[in-house]
């Protein structure tokens, strides 16, 4: 028995929750699951089939690897070309294709690219080899950004001068607004990301209810968590109410993790940033403040990339906006598989295409 996991996977409980959802669900409801982890849970646990015919899940932009702009992947690859530079990255980004190469291909060609578990590990590497430059690729949303910020604060405290971060972290509210403002959006309600919310709390979502009149419910990742969030959204939808709820109270406090937010805001400030598939979203990126610029890979290495090119047949962009599904893509499952991915949504373990491929019906 694994505490705080197994009890939320109880089969009988899940089946009865699904039965209750089907019993109250009468009107069509399109729910966007924002987080890639939720996409995986829905596919892995067969939740789409459990909740009945009126509810449709639409995958959102919450896979950090998938929304990393191809120009940023190209920039990381360019940095890896320098023999004195070591690139440290989360595993998910390792195989993502850039315009003409990937970090995996660069490593096969002799570049020093290391897959790490955390920013902290990258910092530790840099202390072991002080004569080399270590660049950590800082991707991820509000969940991961504080960990990257903490590594920079630690490097500053210990006067490490060979540790750098390519700051690619992004924040959720702007992306949600961009997706929901799309005139073709069919989204009626949102399952909000659990671990982003563990850091941010619920306040940043108030615009959903107050401005956009769209319901949102924060959810955990186990099947009973997901089903209870769906139940809450369906119940409100049927009653014609707009709600902002938290169904993941064991991990998400209303105010979030204020210490982690303080660390994130100490190191980073908002900036305009390009999201793959969505485009430029004002204020939705995190750049390193001038105070910590000695750790900013962008400022210290001044790497520029020539015009980046997307694979025109790949539908990742539309899929990230919820406008298309993998079933609409000609490459899906044929030219594009997890072994030979053409787009980021197939590479990341929580990308929509990877989830559809792995747990196809």
């Amino acid at each position: 028995m694994i505490k705080y996991i197994d009890e939320y996977r109880d089969t009988k409980l899940c089946l009865s929750l699904a039965e209750r959802i089907r019993a109250i669900s009468k009107k069509p409801l399109n729910i966007m699951e924002v987080c890639g982890g939720h996409t995986m849970s829905i596919r892995k646990n067969g939740i789409q089939k459990m909740v009945g015919k009126h509810i449709k899940f639409i995958s959102g932009p919450g896979c950090p690897v998938c929304v990393t702009a191809i120009s940023d992947i190209d920039k990381a690859i360019k940095l890896a070309e320098n023999k004195n530079t070591v690139i440290c990255t989360f595993g998910d980004l390792f195989n993502v294709p850039g315009s003409i190469s990937s970090l995996a291909k660069e490593r096969a060609s002799g570049a020093d690219v290391r897959v790490v578990y955390s920013a902290h590990d990258a910092l530790e590497f840099s202390k072991i080899e002080p004569s080399r430059r270590f660049v950590f690729l800082g991707i991820g949303f509000e969940t991961t950004a504080p960990t990257v910020a903490a590594s920079i604060l630690e490097a500053a405290k210990e006067n490490v001068d060979n540790y750098f971060v390519l700051a690619l972290n992004k924040t959720m509210p702007g992306a949600l607004r961009a997706v929901l403002d799309d005139k073709d959006s069919k989204v009626n309600a949102l399952i909000l990301p659990g671990h982003v919310s563990a850091i941010t709390g619920l306040g940043m979502y108030s615009f959903l209810k107050d401005d956009l009149k769209i319901s949102g419910c924060v959810s955990g990742f186990e099947p009973a968590d997901m089903l209870s969030a769906v139940y809450i959204l369906v119940e409100a939808h049927e009653a014609g109410r707009v709600i902002l709820e938290n169904a993941y109270r064991r991990a998400v406090k209303d105010e979030g993790n204020t210490k982690a937010l303080g660390i994130m805001n100490e190191v980073f400030e908002p900036c305009h940033v390009e999201w793959r598939g969505i485009g430029m979203i004002p204020g939705s990126g995190l750049k390193i403040k001038n105070k910590y610029e000695k750790f900013d890979a962008d400022k210290n290495f001044n790497v520029t990339v020539t015009r980046s090119k997307e694979n025109k047949a790949c539908l990742c962009g539309e899929i990230l906006r919820g406008a298309k599904t993998p079933a609409d893509c000609k490459l899906f499952g044929k030219a594009c598989t997890p072994e030979n991915p053409m787009g980021a949504c197939m590479v990341s373990s929580e990308g929509t295409c990877a989830a559809w491929f792995r747990y196809s019906e």
Partner: protein
């Protein structure tokens, strides 16, 4: 990528906790949390303890699930 798993704190060494997840012991940096104690459960993400798991809320959630079911 925002995956995070709950684990039990079995030891605290300065700014680091040893956390047990399904019988496996892992290190978790404590930069983002205050007052982490042995016996508490924390969510681990990318090598850092992200948030404490609140036992009262966890019990309440299970009650809520059962309330929906019944």
């Amino acid at each position: 990528m925002c995956w995070s798993v709950p684990g039990k704190v079995v030891r605290v060494e300065g700014n680091k906790a040893i956390v047990e997840v399904a019988g496996v012991k892992k290190d978790a940096a404590l930069d983002l949390l205050n007052d982490v104690k042995v016996g508490e459960y924390v969510l681990i993400h990318a090598g850092y303890a992200l948030q404490k798991v609140d036992e009262k809320s966890a019990k309440f959630t299970i009650k809520f699930f059962k309330g929906i079911r019944d």
